[in-house]
């Protein structure tokens, strides 16, 4: 029975989702981290009124750090449970990458869904262009997931624990941070989507380039 | 002898130092390579 790459990709994704549903470790730690960080941020801001620029920055800082905390272990779980070899045999590298990428995208989606309402409660904005906000978050998440999946694979293969993932991932993600904050800032200022075209273009091109590069490079990381 | 002449001389001095250092490294490696050829 020959499986198409789509089948294998979905298989990898479903496997990770099932594992997650059982242990809920990744989702749990991502959510907990984001809630803790968000609380710390809003607590330290006290009751001070902060302008939209700073709010946009805070949102993305929390998002980025929660993502870094949650996505670092994407491949480590495989090495720890000894399933690397099985995965290598069962699915072509492209499927492994795409499956993991989609899973990370799912994690980020959950993160966004929880974070935005929470943010609205603790650090509310009076009004906003919610459509633009969503666009920024979705595009940013795609770029985030694309880069971090590849880097997580590199770190897992290097067999390193600790902060190497964050060290490697954060600077590479700076373009997403800058464009995301820009778009979010404009969203909080209720500007139209058209006003954020430079940011959106950056997010789209970054996501596209990173996805393409990751697909091409993943083979080299994954092979032994 | 104004400010800019001082800076110029300082930068030149730094360059001479850097050049000498790199040249010394170059010579050292050449010597090692010759040794290994023997």
């Amino acid at each position: 029975m020959k499986l198409s790459w789509l089948d294998t990709t979905l298989a990898v994704l479903v496997k990770d989702l099932r594992t997650e549903a059982r242990a809920r470790s990744a989702v749990g730690s991502v959510l907990l981290f984001s809630v803790v960080t968000l609380t710390a941020v809003s607590y330290s801001l006290g009751g001070f009124a902060i302008d939209a620029d700073i709010q946009a920055s805070m949102l993305w800082i929390v998002l980025l750090f929660a993502a870094l905390a949650g996505l670092s272990r994407g491949f480590v779980s495989e090495t720890e449970s000894g399933t690397v070899l099985a995965l290598r045999l069962a699915a072509p590298p492209t499927s492994v990458y795409l499956g993991k990428f989609l899973f990370n995208l799912f994690l980020l989606g959950v993160l966004d869904l929880i974070l935005i309402p929470l943010f609205q409660i603790l650090l509310p904005v009076a009004s906003a262009n919610w459509g633009l906000l969503m666009i920024g978050l979705v595009l940013g998440s795609i770029g985030l997931a694309a880069s971090t999946t590849l880097i997580a694979a590199i770190v897992a293969q290097a067999g390193v624990k600790g902060t190497l993932f964050t060290v490697l991932a954060f600077p590479v993600l700076v373009p997403v941070l800058v464009a995301g904050i820009g778009a979010t800032r404009k969203a909080f200022a209720s500007e139209p989507v058209a006003a954020a075209m430079p940011e959106i273009q950056l997010l789209v091109s970054y996501a596209g380039v990173m996805l393409a590069a990751s697909l091409l490079l993943f083979d080299h990381v994954w092979k032994d | 002898m104004n400010d800019y002449t001082v800076v110029l001389i300082a930068v030149l001095a730094i360059w001479v130092g850097i050049f000498a250092y790199i040249m010394m490294l170059d010579r050292k490696v050449s010597r090692l390579e010759k040794e290994l050829k023997r």
Partner: protein, 227 residues
């Protein structure tokens, strides 16, 4: 590289330095108080600053090229070159940062003013610091070459974003006094350009020279360890 060439490089660079301070014509900037223009001597830092930035990008590009080659087929020399060029890229990046900070300090009194280009170069140094951290955490040479090679390629892919796209986006965030940017090549006359390009040439020569020394050292090291 012939010995004569190296001495020529040394003299040429010295000549370039002198030219940057003396032969290059004075740059002027508008004086809003008097309505005229004042001489702007600190502008001369541009002759050291811009070539450093160019060589930084060139060095990281070279690193990516050798990384691609090493991924195609492993050879220790290829990995050496990828690493050496990344090291030099860091050196030039730091040079660019320092000259930029010096310029900002002399002109504006602040070492850092969040100029998007400056910040991008700082991020670049962080990316490549990660590259070296990654390298140092892997023992097996082939694995190290492979994984670091992938990261080097990933790192360089972000360069166009950081150097070109991000500053454009950030201009809508922080309209900062981008002095080096505004004056860079637009308002330079031909004599200034001559000095600038000779600076690029000299830096390029230095890059090639130090690269060759660095890779020769690694080759020697390897020969010694297998004796």
């Amino acid at each position: 590289m012939r010995s004569a060439l190296k001495w020529l490089l040394g003299v040429a660079t010295a000549a370039f330095i002198v030219a940057a301070f003396t032969w290059a014509p004075e740059m002027y900037r508008p004086n809003f108080a008097t309505g005229g223009s004042d001489p702007w001597p600190t502008f001369r830092i541009v002759f050291f600053h811009v070539p450093a930035a160019w060589l930084c990008v060139i060095a990281f590009l070279v690193s990516m090229i050798w990384s691609i080659k090493v991924l195609r087929g492993y050879a220790p020399e290829k990995d050496d070159k990828a690493m050496a060029s990344a090291q030099l890229g860091q050196v030039f990046a730091i040079l660019a940062l320092i000259s930029g900070m010096l310029w900002a300090w002399r002109d504006w009194g602040a070492l850092w003013n969040w100029d998007p280009r400056q910040s991008s170069v700082l991020i670049l140094t962080l990316i490549y610091a990660g590259y070296f951290t990654l390298r140092s955490s892997i023992d097996d040479p082939e694995k190290r070459a492979r994984l670091a090679g992938v990261y080097s390629i990933l790192a360089f892919i972000t360069v166009p974003f950081l150097i070109f796209v991000v500053p454009r986006v950030m201009h809508t965030l922080h309209p900062s006094p981008v002095i080096p940017d505004a004056q860079e090549k637009g308002s330079m006359n031909t004599d200034m350009r001559v000095v600038l390009y000779s600076g690029v040439f000299c830096y390029l020569g230095l890059f090639a020279w130090v690269m060759s020394i660095r890779t020769r050292i690694e080759a020697v090291r390897r020969r010694l360890s297998t004796r």
